[in-house]
Structure formats: structure tokens, C-alpha cells
């Protein structure tokens, strides 16, 4: 039991863990995941508290600013995330029955919904940039994307350094460095090309001429900056979580390709699905708060 074997051996059973039998390892891993989810709740909770306070302080401005968000886009994204959460739950259910093909199918649907979510989100951001509601316009958006890539790279490298999977370490760190370097030098063209693509489609922004103003103009005061700053922080951090969740689910998909899961070992599917459900949970609160009641 305590013999260390490599965790990526192709076998349909739990990996051997030191000093623990399989059910104990399963429950310990799940409890650890819930603890991590607790820290995520507090991370977003700080932003929700800030939003609540500034909404209380700048009530009229928050109402005026929130009409610049297209609630139909938010509702569409809510539906996609709820459906992807449903398929993630089904993937977990399939894993509990040891049906690896169904795990793969459900994870692919979940990943597709994640991609659609990010595409819709990108159209919304494009609309904000096009109407001058993003700080420093296209330049600001380029830096926003770069910070996102930097966070992903640092996060992925940080996680992989502390895992026991030696085969993953060097490739992930190299890919992270490549991502950051590519984004640093290509961020201008990435933003421009994607905006040209996005401009082919005429949606993404609820344009209200009566509130037409730009981010760095004098009438765009601290109150409006608070609203849009919090909007970009909250949805941006959430989008980062969507990308990270897709990465985790893709890793689970690769394990399912090797038929790793069975009725007595499905911990990665459950933990990946738990993370995805948390991403869905946060959006369930973000949607009415940002798009509907302002």
C-alpha cells in the first residue's frame, strides 16, 4: 500500500497514496477542495463587499452606469454556465458509474459552454472599449489581457511546482513563459485583430446615447469609475476562473481518455466539477447584481 507508484500509470483504480487507504484519500482530497472553495468565496466576497459599499455611496451613478451593460448578454451567459454546470454534474455522475466515454462527452460539452461564455464576454468587453468605457481604451484593454495572461502563467507554474507529477513541471513552466512573452510582444496585434473580427458582428453593447461619455473625461467621475472598475475586476477575475476551470476539466478529460475512472476512483472528476460549480455560483450572483439591479 505504501509503495510509491507513478500517479499517471494507466489503470482503472485509485493511485497509491502514502499512509492512506483509498476512501480516506478521497475524503481528504474532497475536504481540501472545499477548503479551497472557501478561500475563493472570501476572495470574491471582498469584491462583492466593495461593490455593495460603493453602490450604497454612489447609488444614482451606479444606476446610470449599469444601463450600459446589455442584460440579454448576461442572461445568455447565465444560461450557458448553468447548462455547463449541469453537464459537469453529469460527468461526475458518469464517473461514479465508471463510464469514461460519457465523462469525456459531458466534459466536452462543458468546455464548449465555457468557450461560448468567454466569446460572449469578449463581445461585451469589445463594446465597452468601442464606446470609450474602458480605461485608456484599446491600450488599456491590451494591458488588461496581458495581466490576465500573466496571472494564468504564474498560477499554472505555481501549481505545477508543488505537484508530484515531474513530467508536467518543465513543459508547463516553459508554456507559461512562452504565453507571457507572446502576450507582451503581441498584445497590440491580438487586441486589434480580435476587435476587427468582433466588429463583424453588430452586438455586444447596450448603447445609451444619453449616458455617452468616455472613461478618462472629466464628467466620468469617481462614481462611474468605481462602477466600471468593479465591473472589470469582478467579471475579469471570474473570466480568469472560467479559463482555469476549463484547464482543470481538460486535464480531467485527458485522464478519461486513458479510462482512468471507475466506481472506486473518480476524485479528479469530482474536484474539477466542484471548481466549475463554484465558477457558476459566482456568476449566479454577479449577473443580477451587475446587469439587472445595478
Amino acid at each position: 500500500m505504501s509503495t510509491p507508484t507513478t500517479s499517471n500509470a494507466i489503470e482503472s483504480g485509485p493511485p497509491h497514496v502514502h499512509h492512506m487507504d483509498a476512501p480516506t484519500a478521497y475524503h481528504a482530497a474532497k475536504l481540501g477542495m472545499w477548503l479551497f472553495l472557501a478561500t475563493e468565496v472570501l476572495l470574491f466576497g471582498g469584491l462583492f463587499t466593495a461593490f455593495a459599499l460603493y453602490r450604497y455611496v454612489y447609488f444614482a451613478e451606479f444606476q446610470a452606469a449599469s444601463v450600459n451593460l446589455d442584460w440579454r448578454m448576461g442572461a445568455l451567459n447565465t444560461a450557458f454556465l448553468i447548462f455547463s454546470s449541469f453537464t459537469a454534474a453529469l460527468a461526475m455522475d458518469a464517473a461514479q458509474h465508471g463510464d469514461n466515454a460519457k465523462v469525456r462527452r459531458n466534459i466536452l460539452i462543458t468546455l464548449a459552454c465555457g468557450v461560448v461564455f468567454l466569446v460572449v464576454k469578449y463581445f461585451e468587453y469589445k463594446g465597452k472599449v468601442a464606446y470609450g468605457l474602458f480605461p485608456y481604451g484599446v491600450k488599456g484593454f491590451e494591458n488588461f489581457l496581458f495581466v490576465g495572461a500573466l496571472c494564468l502563467a504564474i498560477g499554472a507554474s505555481g501549481v505545477v511546482i508543488f505537484t508530484h507529477n515531474a513530467k508536467l513541471k518543465i513543459p508547463t513552466i516553459l508554456a507559461s513563459i512562452a504565453l507571457v512573452v507572446a502576450f507582451y510582444f503581441l498584445k497590440g496585434s491580438i487586441a486589434t485583430i480580435s476587435f476587427d473580427l468582433a466588429n463583424l458582428f453588430p452586438f455586444g453593447h447596450a448603447h445609451h446615447p444619453e449616458t455617452k461619455m468616455v472613461f478618462n473625461s472629466p464628467e466620468f467621475n469617481t462614481a462611474y469609475k468605481s462602477y466600471f472598475g468593479l465591473y472589470y475586476c469582478m467579471t475579469g477575475l471570474h473570466a480568469l476562473h472560467v479559463i482555469l476551470g476549463m484547464g482543470i476539466l481538460f486535464w480531467v478529460y485527458l485522464k478519461a481518455l486513458n479510462n482512468r475512472f471507475s466506481a472506486n476512483y473518480y476524485t479528479p472528476v469530482e474536484l474539477g466539477a466542484l471548481y466549475w460549480h463554484l465558477v457558476d455560483l459566482i456568476w449566479i450572483y454577479l449577473f443580477p447584481l451587475l446587469y439587472l439591479v445595478g
Binding site: 476512501p23 480516506t24 478521497y26 475524503h27 474532497k30 475536504l31 472545499w34 477548503l35 472553495l37 472557501a38 478561500t39 468565496v41 472570501l42 466576497g45 471582498g46 462583492f48 463587499t49 455593495a52 459599499l53 450604497y56 455611496v57 447609488f59 444606476q63 442584460w71 442572461a75 447565465t78 444560461a79 448553468i82 447548462f83 454546470s85 449541469f86 459537469a88 454534474a89 453529469l90 455522475d93 461514479q96 458509474h97 466506481a263 472506486n264 473518480y266 469530482e270 466539477a273 466542484l274 460549480h277 457558476d280 455560483l281 449566479i284 450572483y285 449577473f287 443580477p288 447584481l289 439587472l292 439591479v293
Partner: protein, 115 residues
């Protein structure tokens, strides 16, 4: 699709020597449809003029509906209903801390403008 659930022993309580609980497929479908219905309800209450009771009440209603949805997702999709008390504590403790932070800030901020 739900046929294969029949031969699973669903009476087994989740304890430390078993793995997780198996939830029937029907429950997942019911929860999914309820979530979509509640999303539509949230939009209707927020957007239809007859439901405009004032901004504070509408905010409370929207947050209550969101909390019902969050409850459904965590209880059934995340299997919290079948988890042990320690996991429940992990869920409630951060929410409690968040409540303290929000309460503290909202007690503090209006006081600042008082004479």
C-alpha cells in the same frame, strides 16, 4: 439513461469508508430546469415594470433568488446535501466571515457622516 442507476445501492449512507453519494439522473434534470426557471424569474422581476417595488426591495428579491439558485447548485450539483458536518462547516464559516465584514463596513460607513 437512468436505467443504469437502478442497480446501485442508494441506501448506503456516505461515511468515511465509502465514496460519494450517487444522485439519480432525474434530480439533476429537475435542478437544471429549476435553475433556468429561476433565472427567467430573476430577469422578469428585475425588468417588468409591474414588479418594480423600489430599488432596495428589488435588490433584496434578486439576491434572494440568486441565493435559492446557489443553494440548489451547492446542495445537489455539488452534493453538499450528502456531505458530512465538517464540509458544512467549511461552507458556512466563510459566509459567516463575509457577513461580519459586510456588517462591519455598513455599520462604519453611515456613521462617518453623523455629527
Amino acid at each position: 439513461m437512468s436505467n443504469e442507476h437502478k442497480h446501485d445501492n442508494q441506501d448506503v449512507e456516505s461515511h468515511d469508508h465509502e465514496l460519494g453519494h450517487i444522485v439519480p439522473f432525474k434530480i439533476y434534470v429537475t435542478i437544471f430546469s429549476s435553475l433556468i426557471a429561476l433565472t427567467i424569474l430573476t430577469v422578469v422581476v428585475a425588468k417588468a415594470p409591474i414588479f418594480h417595488f423600489g430599488n432596495t426591495i428589488n435588490l433584496i428579491v434578486a439576491m434572494l433568488l440568486a441565493s435559492v439558485k446557489a443553494g440548489l447548485v451547492s446542495l445537489f450539483f455539488m452534493h453538499l446535501k450528502y456531505e458530512n458536518p465538517i464540509t458544512w462547516m467549511y461552507v458556512f464559516f466563510p459566509i459567516f466571515l463575509l457577513f461580519i465584514m459586510m456588517a462591519g463596513i455598513f455599520i462604519d460607513n453611515p456613521m462617518r457622516t453623523l455629527p
